[in-house]
Amino acid sequence: MAKVKKTIKTITVDVDKCNGCRACEMICSAFHAEPKYSSNNPERSRIRLIRLPLQDIYLPVYAGEYAEAECAGRNKYIIDGKEYSECDFCRASCPSRDLFKEPDSGLPLKCDMCESEPPLEEPLCVKWCINEALVYEEREEEVEEQVEIEDLERSLKVLLDDFGEEKLIGTLARLTQGEPR
């Protein structure tokens, strides 16, 4: 594939600056509501804060790719005397935990850096984090051209994993042809 210039959007997470307020979760869920800001519920957020104040653990994690099976990762990490599970750092929406799933449908959530038209200056979790635990940066990089997985494709993949190809195609065919069930 050809090389293309791509804007890489990154968020630097400085856990030492996190004050544990969870505004990032709240505003993420509000931005992604339909219509925008019409409701909020941190459970729908694509960023989740692991917050254990008495252990001084504050770890914002972003939702990434959907994983159809849980992984073998059960290791423990001790950083500055604080114990984390390997899982804590993972972005995947996966069967082993209820993180990064729509609470009603169970469909996976993924951070989209608040893409919208017109574009925002920065993702809203960053904008609302005035303590600067989350800082946004853009840079240009040359990367291999590839096809982005769209929302629909990701959702279909979940259904495919859950029900199998035959059932899914059959149901789709029936629905689109309006055949009585």
Binding site: N19, G20, C21, R22, A23, M26, I27, A30, A33, P35, K36, Y37, S38, S39, N40, N41, P42, E43, R44, L52, P53, L54, D56, Y58, P103, W128, C129, I130, N131
Partner: protein, 662 residues
């Protein structure tokens, strides 16, 4: 309710009713008309108390309610909308208590699908309530008996396997019905007026919540988010530009930033030590500053915030060798100053006191009161049998006795007012720092301040910090400074407040106690109090609103928040009327329980120079201004104007207001 579906904005439209006697649990739809009249939070809870808790109800009766209310804007994107208002009848004041906490409890309750949690009855054994969205159950808590309030929160989260649950719990003090027992929750606590004792009396050790299913809807999303953006920008501006001319802890937003600042010159020299007794001028030396700085920085793990608020008023405190806990504000100094000790002692004993769950204002004063009684020979060595001889040891020993109600601790556990009555032998003289039977901020001053006189006398929130805020505490020295201050004072409801401030002088004709004049004092106090009552019905933290000078929320933008958030038609006159209605409903509850003018008295020694005639005139003027009669009872006319005719009717039936008279 009619069968017509009405979309609910900002609120969810359901209450959770729990009867601890029968174990019955119900989810009850609420009437949106009540929201229009009282908003939420304190407004709704005082209406519930009025409707369901008649004045004969004893604090420790199964009929007493314990209400956890969320404010109308809680869980909306409005920054700092996270307050829980806890309402019940106080064992200490025997009046309607409403104590508030920040943290994460109110948002979690709302995301679980409830605006208000109403608890009645009394459980036979110790239980805790587990609210997991629409699954609600009472669970055995006998294994948690005697556990610390912080410890209990962690144990419950562990046994439920729910690290994200938020838990409000009582410690030993609540279990043993100490009159100044608190309810602790994460970095916050509802401490005043003994609401933890009521929870303990109901045999309710804790309430754990996990809320994931209820989305909070906004009536006009775009408008609302723009208002939130403005508030966030203002917060950034204010934090970067502290107000000149006031002490550092009051120059920025939040509750006093005592976890951040080490400089305690103002508190240690202006507030009083021991049993709210003496000022120590010149206390704050370079040596003290250096030592306290070391102490504070060595135990403070991190500055932290409540839900959806950028201001870091709290801190996690980890003193080597003892369990971590969370602290905020002035409890940093109350134990230190009551015991004439140092900051290291303060942080250590506060850990134990937080686990026991007691109020950081009343607790230390009660202990210092006991020490004074011993010095005066009213309490004897026999009462102190087994007590260590060192100063700090005495305080730990007293704390341990009080929360267990052992020996002399039993009387002391009722607070200074009631303990003095029980102990007798002149002990009353030593319970000198109460209003309405409740310990006050330990501060003693020179010249009567007419504004503070009215706030102390008439406040039913008991704590001065919950009434004061919008008007500077003292006049500025130069006209230049004053003019600089009023330049961006957009929060004033009316330009006349600027005039009062500009004219106000430290000395001479326009100085205290005769300036500001009576009418101006009434207006200033009414404004400050109004902002607190609005906050408490909306669930917005006073630290971003009514408490600090020049806050981001004020009478001009609040109506827009209510309109855009909850979809109610609102302007500042309408909001002022609701605040007034809620204020009068709180007072109505207390008038019905016997509170009168005679109870509205600051401590005799609060100011050295008192002006009895002026004070009477101030109170007369303020009552009149508020629409209350000479005895402080809301008149029939003013009640009717506020759509509180049902209160007037009740007052007449009880003979509190005579028919045909106001």
């Amino acid at each position: 309710m009619t069968g017509v579906f009405k979309m609910r904005y900002a609120e969810v439209g359901y209450n959770l009713e729990v009867d601890l006697t029968s174990g019955n649990i119900e989810r009850v739809e609420t009437d949106p008309k009540q929201t229009e009249l009282y908003l939420g939070g304190l407004g709704i809870s005082s209406k519930l108390m009025w409707d369901r808790v008649p004045p004969e109800t004893e604090p420790f009766s199964p009929d007493n309610l314990l209400i956890f209310s969320t404010g109308l804007l809680c869980s909306t994107p409005a920054p700092g909308a996270n307050r829980t208002i806890v309402t019940t009848i106080s064992p200490q004041t025997r009046l309607m208590a409403f104590s508030m906490m920040g943290g994460f409890f109110a948002p979690e309750l709302k995301y679980a699908g409830y605006d208000h949690l109403i608890i009645r009855g009394k459980s036979e054994g110790l239980v805790y309530l587990w609210i997991n969205n629409d699954k609600v159950e009472l669970r055995d808590a006998s294994h948690l008996q005697g556990k610390g309030a912080v410890e209990t929160q962690e144990l419950i989260k562990q046994e439920l396997g729910e690290p994200k649950a938020h838990v409000a719990a009582i410690g030993l003090a609540g279990e043993n019905r100490v009159f100044f027992a608190s309810i602790e929750q994460g970095r916050s606590s509802a401490s005043r007026q003994g609401i933890g004792a009521v929870m303990g009396d109901k045999r309710l050790k804790a309430i754990a919540i996990r809320g994931t299913r209820s989305d909070i809807s906004i009536a006009h999303p775009q408008e609302f988010i723009e208002l939130c953006d403005e508030v966030m920008q203002f917060i950034e501006h204010r934090q970067a530009n502290p107000i000149p001319g006031v002490m550092p802890i009051l120059a920025i937003l939040g509750s006093p930033q005592e976890m951040l600042h080490v400089d305690e010159k103002w508190h240690t020299e202006s507030f009083v030590w021991g049993n709210a007794r003496e000022r120590i001028k010149g206390y704050w030396t370079k040596d003290i500053e250096k030592k306290w700085k070391e102490t504070q920085e060595s135990v403070r793990t991190r500055l932290i915030s409540c839900y959806n608020c950028p201001i870091k008023c709290g801190a996690v405190i980890s003193v080597p060798g003892i369990a971590s806990y969370m602290m905020k504000c002035f409890s940093k100094l109350t134990y230190t100053m009551a015991a004439y000790s140092d900051l290291d002692f303060g942080f250590r004993i506060a850990q134990r006191a937080t686990e026991y769950g007691i109020d950081g204002f009343s607790g230390p004063q009660v202990m210092a009161f006991a020490v004074e009684l011993r010095e005066a020979g009213i309490l004897t060595d026999k009462d102190f049998e087994g007590c260590p001889s060192d100063n700090e040891g005495i305080f730990y020993w007293l704390l341990d006795r009080i929360v267990r109600r052992e020996g002399i601790g039993d009387a002391l556990a009722d607070g200074t007012y009631w303990a003095a009555k029980k102990i007798g032998k002149g002990a009353e003289e030593f319970a000198h720092n109460t209003i309405k039977k409740h310990e006050q901020v330990p501060i003693k001053l020179g010249m009567l301040n007419p504004i503070y006189f009215l706030m102390y006398a008439t406040g039913e929130k008991i704590n001065i910090t919950q009434i004061e805020g919008q008007f500077p505490q003292a006049p500025f020295a130069t006209m230049e400074d004053k003019q600089e201050f009023v330049k961006d004072w957009i929060q004033v409801p009316d330009e006349k407040y600027k005039e009062y401030f500009l004219k106000w002088e430290p000395r001479g004709e326009f100085s205290m106690p005769f300036y500001p004049g009576i009418e101006a004092c009434c207006e200033i106090v009414d404004w400050m109090e109004r902002m607190h009552y609005i906050d408490d019905s909306l669930g917005i933290c006073a630290g971003l609103s009514s408490f600090p000078l020049k806050p981001p929320y004020h009478i001009h933008n609040y109506p827009k928040f209510i309109h855009a958030g909850a979809g109610l038609e609102m302007d500042s006159a309408g909001l002022t009327k609701i605040a007034k209605r809620n204020r009068n409903l709180v007072r109505a509850n207390n008038i019905r329980r016997g509170m009168r003018r005679a109870d509205e008295k600051p401590p005799e020694n609060h100011w050295r120079r008192r002006f009895p005639e002026l004070e009477e005139k101030l109170l007369d003027g303020y009552y009149k201004f508020k629409g209350w009669n000479r005895d402080g009872i809301p008149t029939k006319e003013s009640l009717q104007d506020l759509d509180l005719a049902y209160v007037a009717k009740d007052f007449e039936e009880r003979g509190i207001l005579k028919n045909g008279q106001s």
